[in-house]
């Protein structure tokens, strides 16, 4: 892969196309959004949420790619996929790069205002029985110590108000009845036809062969309340999101 990138990078350098002139500029993001809806929206969705083409809001691929790599992917298309080339003026491509980049930008970069302390209290009362930050909290839901660095603002909001839209990998709710009648409830950190790695709310991990199980059920729904949008006032929601979006332990590139 590295070798494939090399000629691309050389070409990009020659054309002066390694540095995004619009990086992070709000006006460019807005102009990029309009252009994106026109040019890319048919496949990627008007807001990059995905459709025939992959979502650009969730993947690490976009975040890990350099601006120059995004530029080349847009300009030349991606070989072996349906992604076509877009051989237009560099300025237009950079606008798209800027918008695409903003879709998956870590929430911490949004520098949200809000009452963080109030947000922390809301977290402790409503979230910490399942989610942890810096070792404090439960373990039935994903660790949020780096929520602001790992999730985009859009995903962070979505995870709070619509927890059933995507179940996080390794946190599938499960109830297992062992051959001896004991019932275990928690999340499946992993499972297949032969084994189940079940984590209970107490933090106890059970490593099981399925032949040890009399029955196993996956309710299919997140145990997280789906009505936080109604439970919290707008201000409370803003405080919570502000608090979570600032959870980062190091700068993310």
């Amino acid at each position: 892969m590295r070798f494939l990138y090399l000629p691309v990078l050389i070409a990009a350098t020659l054309l002066g196309q390694t540095k995004n002139p619009f990086a992070g500029k709000p006006e460019a993001i807005e102009n990029g959004r309009k252009l994106f809806a026109e040019v890319c929206g048919a496949c990627h969705g008007p807001n990059g949420e995905g459709g025939r083409g992959p979502s650009l809001t969730t993947g690490r691929e976009v975040r890990r790619a350099t601006d120059a790599q995004l530029f080349q992917s847009i300009r030349n298309g991606i070989r072996g996929t349906e992604m076509p080339p877009y051989p237009q003026a560099p300025e237009k491509i950079w606008l798209l790069v800027t918008f695409v980049r903003s879709l998956s930008a870590p929430a911490v970069e949004a520098r949200l205002s809000g009452d963080h302390e109030a947000g922390r209290r809301i977290f402790e009362t409503n979230c910490a029985s399942c989610h942890s930050i810096a070792g404090q909290g439960g373990s039935l839901g994903p660790d949020l110590t780096e929520a602001g660095a790992r999730l985009s603002l859009a995903l962070l909001k979505e995870a709070i108000v619509a927890p059933n839209l995507r179940l996080a990998d390794g946190y599938v709710p499960v109830q297992a009845v062992l051959q001896d009648g004991q019932t275990l409830t928690g999340v499946a950190r992993n499972y297949n036809n032969y084994s189940l790695q079940l984590l209970e709310a107490t933090g106890k991990l059970h490593l099981l062969d399925t032949r040890q199980l009399a029955r196993v059920e996956f309710p299919g729904k997140s145990p997280m309340p789906a009505d936080f949008a109604k439970r919290f006032t707008k201000v409370q929601m803003q405080d919570l999101i502000a608090f979570l979006s600032h959870q980062a332990t190091r700068k993310i590139q």
């Binding site: 070792g135 992993n190 490593l207």
Partner: protein
């Protein structure tokens, strides 16, 4: 749920099967709790379910594909049925009996991606060192991030790849940098917070003892890195840490003198980091012969009296026996045939040099090669057989040196040792008498001589080793008879471990891309 109930639940959970320092003192048994299994780095397990009588029915139990990995060097840690494996800046916890992922944690935002040799474990924490010299503490059951903290500056060229060593309430760490001109150090970090408790610089500062051995060379660029895991003697409360080459690697004209404490072992007080003694294997090294090979601690009778010994098969081709209480040199013996840089080791432990073997601009053929007669691939020591098992490399190189002004972090190493195309290297598995260094048996390992796999010894009378052809091989410990092998289809850069879950013994090793775990076809 109230906050109090929550805290109570968490405390309850964390009490279950925590890894106590006392547990590590007893490792390895069912668990494998340090890089080498034990603090003495013997890499010898008392498990004997798999033994010489039933080895023929050893079969693969599971394979875990580490997607994205290209060069795994990890020695797995196993505790309470969970195996912890690493690649660059990433830890995965896998069901050690079933090979299924439990959690994964990848550090985002790290610019460089060096290899990684594994985690340390203590309490409820699993510790990873990142390529950009952070220590990361993760919860051993959930994989949740507890904290991370830098212990050196990546901007100054520091990086690291070793498995840290946890003891008492501290985590021992080291750094790479012998080839790029960083000043090496060993540090003890708080196991609770990552805060630095003490640091020992491996290149003395101006006016400090040992600084006179550098001919005025800038101590900031001296190298002597600490890129492998050290050993620990709890009775003496001494940490033994090996150090690497002085910089620039292949030209010594600007650093006249012995260049302390490069290519040495340091005996450091575990509580204070104070130097108790040191021993230098290759003074004024110009061949890049780091002394970072495993330091094996063994208690044995030496000339009729029990003695606390330290054993090392050094990259320079000699096997050393030291007194680890005092650092006294006791014995050395050549363990490869291709060795021509020294006539031997004198009574004080200093090499008797052969003139004309130093690198020159035109190049000089010298043996062993720059990769060393052995290297960081793990040896093992079986107290029952009294044998020291290791993978060796018979190879010479053309060494060239340049007096060019050295610039740190520029890639300049004073030039290099290069393989001689007409004289390819050959790896051998060897068993040495641990006290004399005498070769008791050997097994050739035909192949490209590109692997870095080590060994693990068991009370089942077997020593397992990675082979240069990508096989895991079981040798009869006393005779070296080849009892069993399994081709894993990939180059090996890691050392095997053994452990037990629910009464079943496993032997596991990482290939470049996968973890293989073996057990008996049927169990008692």
């Amino acid at each position: 749920m109230t906050k109090t109930t929550l805290v109570a639940l968490l405390v309850l959970a964390s009490l279950r099967a925590q890894v106590r320092y006392e547990d590590i003192l007893k490792s390895p048994r069912e668990n494998w709790l340090t890089y080498a299994g034990d603090y003495a780095s013997q890499r010898h397990s008392p498990l004997k379910q798999i033994n010489t009588a039933n080895i023929a029915s050893l079969v693969p139990k599971w394979v875990y594909h580490f997607d994205g990995a290209r060069h795994l060097e990890v020695s797995p840690i196993v505790h309470d049925g969970i195996m912890y494996i690493t690649d660059s800046n990433e830890v995965r916890a896998v069901d050690a009996a079933r090979g299924r992922l439990i959690w994964r944690y990848r550090v985002e935002g790290v610019k460089n991606a060096r290899v990684n040799r594994g985690v340390a474990i203590l309490g409820d924490r699993v510790y990873l060192l990142t390529s950009d010299v952070h220590i990361v503490a993760l919860h051993r059951v959930t994989g949740a991030l507890l904290w991370q903290r830098a212990f050196a500056s990546a901007d100054k060229g520091y990086s690291t790849s070793l498995a840290p060593l946890a003891l008492k309430n501290q985590v021992m760490v080291g750094v790479a940098g012998g080839g790029s001109g960083q000043r090496g150090f060993v540090a003890a970090l708080s196991a609770s917070t990552g805060e630095e408790l003490w640091r020992f610089w491996t290149v003395p500062g101006p006016g400090e003892p040992g600084s006179e051995t550098w001919g005025g060379f800038n101590h900031e660029f001296g190298g002597a890195p600490t890129w492998t895991t050290g050993s620990f003697d709890p009775e003496l409360n001494l940490i033994y840490w090996p150090t690497g080459n002085p910089w620039p690697d292949f030209y010594g004209g600007r650093r006249k003198g012995d260049n302390l404490y490069s290519d040495s072992v340091l005996a450091l007080d575990a509580g204070t980091g104070k130097l108790k003694w040191h021993f230098q294997f290759t003074p004024h090294d110009v061949w890049d012969w780091d002394a970072n090979e495993t330091l094996v601690l063994a208690d044995a009778n030496w000339k009729g009296a029990p003695r606390k010994l330290m054993l090392q098969a050094n990259r320079n081709g000699f096997y050393y026996v030291l007194d680890r209480v005092t650092g006294e040199f006791l014995h050395a013996r050549q363990f490869v045939d291709r060795l021509d840089w020294a006539k031997g080791i004198d009574a004080k432990g200093r090499p008797v040099l052969v003139p004309g073997k130093e690198p020159t601009p035109a190049g000089v053929k010298t043996c062993p090669s720059v990769r060393g007669a052995s290297n960081w691939m793990s040896p093992s020591y079986n107290p029952e057989t009294g044998l020291f098992y290791l993978v060796t490399l018979e190879q010479c190189d053309i060494y060239s040196g340049s007096a060019k002004e050295p610039v740190p972090s520029s890639g300049f190493r004073g030039t290099a040792g290069e393989q001689i195309p007409a004289e390819p290297g050959r790896m051998y598995m060897r068993a040495l008498d641990a006290l004399t260094g005498e070769r008791k048996w050997e097994a050739p390992m035909p192949g490209p001589a590109t692997m870095w796999a080590g060994t693990v010894s068991t009370a089942g009378g077997i020593v397992f080793a990675g082979d240069d052809d990508g096989s895991l091989v079981a040798y009869e410990a006393r005779s070296g008879k080849d009892l069993w092998h399994f081709p894993m289809g990939n180059t090996l850069f890691a050392s095997p471990v053994t452990y037990m879950v629910d009464g079943i013994q496993f032997v596991a090793i990482a290939t470049a891309t996968d973890i293989f775990a073996f057990g008996l076809l049927t169990h008692p």
